[in-house]
C-alpha cells in the first residue's frame, strides 16, 4: 500500500483510468434510482444480445431498507458501486481484474487475495451467473460474475461483471472504521458530502414516505411499461430504453414501500414477480432489436 492511501475520489479516478486503458466506455452514473449497479441498463440490457460491450461506471445504489440515519458506521441507504462489464468476457479477465487491484495499491504479494465460490443471482431481473466473491485479507471486495442469464434469457456471448463496493473498499484502504470519516478528497470527508443525505433520506424512506402514493406510482409505472413497449420510434423501433426506465422506477418504488414495512411477507414474492415480468418483457424486446441472441 502506498504511504498515503487513496482518497475515495482518487480511488474512483484510478479505477476509471485503469479501465479506460482497457478500452472501457467510462459512463456517468445512470440518472434513475437503482438498487444496484447491475440494474443500470448499461449492464442489464447491454449484457444481452450479440454485440460486444465494454463499460465502467460508478453507480450510486439506493437501498432504502438499509437506512440508518447516518448513525451506523458502515450501513448506508445509498452506497456507491464500481461496475465493470466486458462482453464477451476476455479470457484474461481475472488478470485484468488483478491488475486493477494493483492499480489501486493492493499488492497481491502482501495481501491475501482469494476467489471464493459465490453464485450471484438477482431474482427481480431474472438474472444469474457463476463466479466468486473476491476476498482481500478476509474481506469481500468484489463480486465477480460470469452472467449466464438476464431477464430469463441466455447471455451469449457471456458478459463478465465486476462489482466493487467502493465505501467498503475505501474503509479498508484508508484503515478507518466509519464511512463518515473517509477522506473523500484532501479537503472533504465523506460525512461532509453525504451525511445529511443519509439522515434525511433515512427519515423519509423509513417514516415519512406515503405508502398509498408510492403504491399508486408503482401501479402507474407497471401499466406504462407495456404501453411504452407497444409504441414506436421514428425508425419503427420499439421504445425499450424508456420502457426499462419505468421498470427501474417501479423497482425503486417497491424498495421504498418495503423499507416502510408496507409489504407483507406473502406479498413480497408477488411484487418481485411483477417486476421480473416487466424486466423480461424489456429484455425480450431488447434482444430482438439487437438481432437476437448469438
Amino acid at each position: 500500500m502506498p504511504d498515503k492511501p487513496l482518497s475515495f475520489q482518487d480511488l474512483i479516478l484510478k479505477l476509471h483510468d485503469y479501465w479506460s486503458r482497457q478500452g472501457c466506455v467510462i459512463l456517468q452514473a445512470y440518472d434513475v434510482e437503482v438498487g444496484a449497479g447491475t440494474l443500470n441498463p448499461a449492464t442489464v440490457l447491454r449484457a444481452l444480445g450479440p454485440r460486444p460491450w465494454k463499460v465502467a461506471y460508478v453507480q450510486p445504489s439506493r437501498r432504502p431498507a438499509d437506512g440508518r440515519y447516518g448513525e451506523n458506521p458502515n450501513r448506508l441507504r445509498q452506497h456507491h458501486q464500481y461496475q465493470v462489464v466486458l462482453k464477451p468476457n476476455p479470457a484474461n479477465l481475472q488478470e485484468l481484474y488483478l491488475g486493477s487491484l494493483e492499480a489501486i495499491g493492493i499488492d497481491p504479494r502482501v495481501h491475501d487475495i482469494r476467489f471464493v465460490e459465490d453464485d450471484w443471482e438477482n431474482p427481480t431481473v431474472g438474472a444469474w451467473g457463476l463466479g466468486w466473491e473476491v476476498w482481500c485479507d478476509g474481506m469481500e471486495i468484489t463480486q465477480y460474475t460470469y452472467f449466464q442469464q438476464v431477464g430469463g434469457l441466455d447471455v451469449f456471448p457471456v458478459a463478465g461483471e465486476l462489482t466493487i463496493g467502493l465505501e467498503r473498499l475505501s474503509l479498508y484502504l484508508q484503515n478507518v472504521d466509519s464511512v463518515y470519516d473517509l477522506r473523500y478528497n484532501d479537503e472533504f470527508t465523506y460525512g461532509e458530502v453525504f451525511l445529511a443525505n443519509e439522515q434525511q433520506f433515512s427519515a423519509f424512506e423509513l417514516e415519512v414516505a406515503d405508502v398509498d402514493v408510492f403504491k399508486r406510482h408503482f401501479e402507474d409505472m407497471e401499466r406504462q411499461v407495456p404501453i411504452i413497449l407497444g409504441s414506436r420510434g421514428r425508425k419503427g423501433e420499439q421504445l425499450v430504453l424508456p420502457a426499462y426506465d419505468h421498470v427501474l422506477k417501479a423497482s425503486h418504488l417497491f424498495n421504498i414501500m418495503d423499507a416502510r414495512g408496507a409489504i407483507a411477507v406473502a406479498e413480497r414474492q408477488s411484487y418481485i414477480g411483477r417486476i421480473r415480468d416487466l424486466c423480461k418483457q424489456c429484455a425480450e424486446v431488447y434482444v430482438a432489436q439487437q438481432g437476437g441472441n448469438a
Binding site: P108, G129, W132, D137, G138, M139, Y146, V158
Partner: protein, 664 residues
C-alpha cells in the same frame, strides 16, 4: 511403460466440488481406458483450486493387435451373399477359409496408438464432466465449472495433439498465481510436473495441503501454548481455497470473549473460514484465530493478520448487536412471530408445530419419566429462537441460542438443556440428549416431524428424503434405546409409520451386527415397544446361536411344513392334544405344557433370556418326537392328536417370535 499426464487448468474451482471432481476424473479415465483394452498400472487424480490433474502409469504405447474370426455364408451360397460378406470384411475371396461347409474371414486389427485414444478420452471427459453446476464463458459454448484456461496432455514424453473447442493441447502449465515466476513452463512427465509446481509454490495433492495446514497451524498454536480447535470440514474447505496454504495467526479483540464461544466459532468459520484457538488447560477460547492464506507474504503475514482481524471485529460487532438486541425480547414473546413462519405449505406454521410438539411432549413425559410441566415449557420455547437475529444470521445455532437466552431469563437448567439439545441426535455420531426433559422434547420434535409428513404422504423414497425423516426415525429409536422409555408407538404412529420404524430399526441392528430377519420375526408379533423389541431380538439371536436353538428352529420348520401340507388336504383339527398320549408324543405334550407355564412367567417379567431357556427345553422332546413318531398315522384319531400337538408347539413358540420369518 509410458506415462500419461493430463492437467485441466482453469479459474478457481469451488472448494466443495474438488474432491468429487478428482473422483469423477479418475473414474471417467478408467472407464474409457478399460473400454479400449488399456489397463494402466496406476491411475491417480488430484484436484486443487485451479487444476484437475490425472496421471496414468504403465500404459501400453498402443492397443494390442486384435484378431477376429467372423462366420460367413455357406460354401456354395449365391455370389451376391458371398460378395456382401467380402465387402463387409474388406477381404478377397482367396483370403477366406472354409470349415464345416462355411466361409470364415480372419480379420487382423492393428491396435490403435494409445495417444489417439487419449485424445478421444480427454475430449469426452471435458465435454461430459459431471460438475454440479457449470457455465459458459466468452464466445465459447464449452461448459466447465469456471472458465477452462489450458489443457496439458503429455503421453510418453510427447504432447498428445488435439483441440477442444479452441483449446489446443500442449505441455505447458503454470505455478502459483502470485508467488510463482508468472511464466508458464514446459513439462514432459509427472516428475517434471510435480517438481515444477513445487518450485512454483503449488501443493498438488489435497492431502498434502491439509497436512501442511495442520502442521503449520499446530506449530503456531504450540509456540504460544495454545491449542487449535480442529474442524475437519473447515480444513477440507480451506485446503481447496489455496494452492500454497499458509496459516497465519491473528489477534481478536479480547472484549468479544464475553460472547458465547459457539457464536465466536461459528462467525469465524462461516464468515471468515478461520480456525478458533483455545487454552489447552481450561478449554476456553483465547482471543486469536488462524486464517489460511494463499501466500507467504513478503511482510511475514502482518498485513494479512491485521486485515483479517479488522474484518473479524466487524463480524463480531454484528454478532454482539444480535446478542444484546435478542435479549431485549423474552422467548415467550417471540412465539407470536412464529405464526408468520411457514413450517411447510401443507403443515401450517411453525407456531402450530410448536403447539403440537408441546402437547406431544406432555403426553410423552409419562413414558420418559420427565417432569411433565418442564417438558411442556421447554417444548413451548424450543423453537422461539428461530425469530432471533442471531439464528437468522447463523441458522446452525438454533437451539444453542435459545438455551443461552432461556438461561439469561432464569429458566430451570433442565429446560435450558432441553432447548439446547432437542435437535439431537443429528446424525449417527451425535449424542442423544442426556437429561429426561431434553430427551422428551427431542422425541416430541422428531415424532411430530414423522407423523406430520407421513400424514401428507411425504415419505422418503429411494435416495430422496428431503425432510430427513430417516434421520428423525433413527433419532427416535436411539432416544428410546438410551432412555429405556417404554413407549407404545402405536398410540402415536400410523401403521405405515410403524413399518418405517421397523425398517430403520433393522438398519440400526444390522449395523450392530444383528440379523435383519430376526427383527422381522419379532416385529411380526405386532409389538410396538422398541426397548422390548430390541431385547427380544438380542435374546433370540443368542438362542439361535446355540445348538438347541438351531435344532429347535429346524424342528419348528418341520412342524410348520407338515401342518401346511395337511392343511391343503382339509381343515386342521382344532383343540388341545390329549394329555394321555403314550411315548414321545405324551412326553412332548407334557413338555409343551411346562414350557408354556415357564414362558408365561418369563414374558410377564420381560425376561427374554428365560423365555429362550423355556424354549430350549423343547428341543429334546421335539427331536425325539420326530425321530420316533409318525404324524401321518393311519388311525385318524392319532393323526389328529399329533397335528394338534404340532400346532400347539408352533403357537407356543410363536408367542416369542414368528420363527417362520427366520432364515436358515
Amino acid at each position: 511403460m509410458p506415462q500419461l499426464l493430463l492437467e485441466l487448468f482453469s479459474e478457481e474451482i469451488p472448494a466443495r466440488m474438488q474432491a468429487q471432481a478428482a473422483r469423477d476424473l479418475e473414474r471417467m479415465a478408467r472407464e474409457k481406458l478399460a473400454a479400449e483394452g488399456l489397463l494402466p498400472g496406476a491411475l491417480t487424480a488430484f484436484a486443487g483450486p485451479r487444476r484437475l490433474t490425472l496421471v496414468a502409469e504403465g500404459l501400453a504405447a498402443a492397443q494390442a493387435e486384435r484378431h477376429e474370426e467372423r462366420k460367413g455364408p455357406r460354401v456354395g451360397s449365391p455370389d451376391q451373399a458371398i460378395e456382401g460378406f467380402l465387402r463387409s470384411t474388406g477381404l478377397t475371396r482367396d483370403q477366406l477359409t472354409e470349415r464345416d461347409g462355411l466361409y470364415f474371414a480372419h480379420i487382423h486389427k492393428a491396435g490403435r496408438p494409445t495417444a489417439d485414444i487419449v485424445g478421444e478420452m480427454v475430449d469426452a471427459i471435458v465435454r461430459n464432466f459431471p460438475w454440479p453446476k457449470s457455465m459458459v464463458s466468452g464466445v465459447s459454448k464449452l461448459r466447465w465449472v469456471r472458465p477452462l484456461q489450458r489443457i496439458l496432455c503429455v503421453f510418453d514424453g510427447e504432447v498428445v495433439p488435439f483441440t477442444i473447442d479452441g483449446h489446443v493441447s500442449g505441455d505447458l502449465t503454470e505455478g502459483h498465481r502470485f508467488m510463482g515466476t508468472g511464466q508458464a513452463f514446459r513439462v514432459r512427465n509427472f516428475d517434471d510436473y510435480a517438481d515444477g509446481l513445487a518450485r512454483n509454490f503449488v501443493v498438488l495433492d489435497p492431502h498434502e495441503r491439509r497436512e501442511r495446514i495442520m502442521d503449520a497451524a499446530r506449530t503456531l498454536c504450540f509456540a504460544r501454548n495454545f491449542e487449535l480447535v480442529e474442524d475437519d470440514g473447515l480444513l477440507d474447505e480451506v485446503a481447496g481455497l489455496a494452492e500454497w496454504p499458509t496459516p497465519v495467526m491473528g489477534d481478536m479483540d479480547p472484549a468479544f470473549l464475553d460472547l458465547p464461544p459457539e457464536v465466536i466459532r461459528t462467525s469465524m468459520r462461516v464468515h471468515q473460514r478461520f480456525f478458533a484457538v483455545r487454552d489447552p488447560t481450561t478449554g476456553f477460547l483465547v482471543p486469536h484465530f488462524i486464517t489460511v492464506a494463499n501466500i507467504e507474504a513478503t511482510d511475514g503475514g502482518k498485513t494479512i493478520a491485521t486485515g483479517n482481524a479488522r474484518v473479524l471485529s466487524a463480524r463480531l460487532s454484528d454478532a454482539r448487536f444480535f446478542w444484546t438486541e435478542d435479549q431485549r425480547v423474552r422467548l415467550e414473546d417471540r412465539l407470536e412471530k412464529l405464526k408468520g413462519v411457514t413450517f411447510h405449505a401443507r403443515l401450517g406454521t411453525m407456531y402450530q408445530r410448536v403447539e403440537r410438539i408441546t402437547k406431544l411432549a406432555g403426553e410423552l413425559a409419562a413414558f420418559t419419566g420427565a417432569d411433565r410441566a418442564k417438558a411442556e415449557q421447554a417444548a413451548r420455547l424450543c423453537k422461539a429462537d428461530l425469530g432471533t437475529g442471531m439464528v437468522g444470521e447463523f441458522p446452525e445455532l438454533q437451539g444453542v441460542m435459545g438455551a443461552y437466552y432461556a438461561d439469561k431469563e432464569g429458566f430451570d437448567p433442565e429446560i435450558v438443556d432441553a432447548i439446547r439439545s432437542h435437535y439431537r441426535p443429528q446424525g449417527p455420531s451425535d449424542e442423544v440428549p442426556a437429561l429426561a426433559v431434553g430427551a422428551t422434547v427431542a422425541l416430541a420434535d422428531k415424532l411430530d416431524t414423522l407423523v406430520s409428513f407421513f400424514a401428507i404422504d411425504e415419505k422418503p423414497t429411494g435416495s430422496r428424503d428431503p425432510f430427513a425423516l430417516r434421520r428423525a426415525a433413527l433419532g427416535v429409536i436411539r432416544i428410546l434405546q438410551q432412555t429405556r422409555a417404554r413407549l407404545p408407538l402405536k398410540q402415536f404412529a400410523s401403521d405405515d409409520l410403524i413399518a418405517f420404524f421397523a425398517d430403520r430399526l433393522k438398519v440400526i441392528l444390522r449395523d450392530q451386527g444383528q440379523r435383519h430377519d430376526l427383527v422381522d420375526a419379532v416385529f411380526a408379533l405386532g409389538d410396538d415397544d422398541i426397548v422390548r423389541i430390541v431385547a427380544k431380538v438380542s435374546a433370540l439371536a443368542d438362542f439361535l446361536g446355540t445348538e438347541d436353538g438351531a435344532n429347535l428352529l429346524a424342528g419348528y420348520k418341520r412342524a410348520v411344513n407338515i401342518l401346511k401340507a395337511e392343511e391343503k388336504k382339509g381343515a386342521l383339527p382344532v383343540g388341545d392334544p390329549i394329555a394321555s398320549a403314550p411315548g414321545e408324543e405324551g412326553a412332548l405334550t407334557a413338555a409343551v405344557g411346562r414350557m408354556e407355564a415357564a414362558l408365561d412367567k418369563a414374558l410377564d417379567k420381560e425376561d427374554y433370556a428365560a423365555a429362550m431357556t423355556a424354549l430350549a427345553a423343547l428341543r429334546a422332546p421335539v427331536d425325539a418326537f420326530f425321530d420316533k413318531v409318525l404324524v401321518n398315522s393311519d388311525v385318524p384319531a392319532e393323526r389328529d392328536n399329533r397335528l394338534r400337538l404340532l400346532a400347539k408347539v408352533r403357537d407356543a413358540m410363536g408367542r416369542v417370535a414368528d420363527f417362520g420369518q427366520v432364515t436358515g
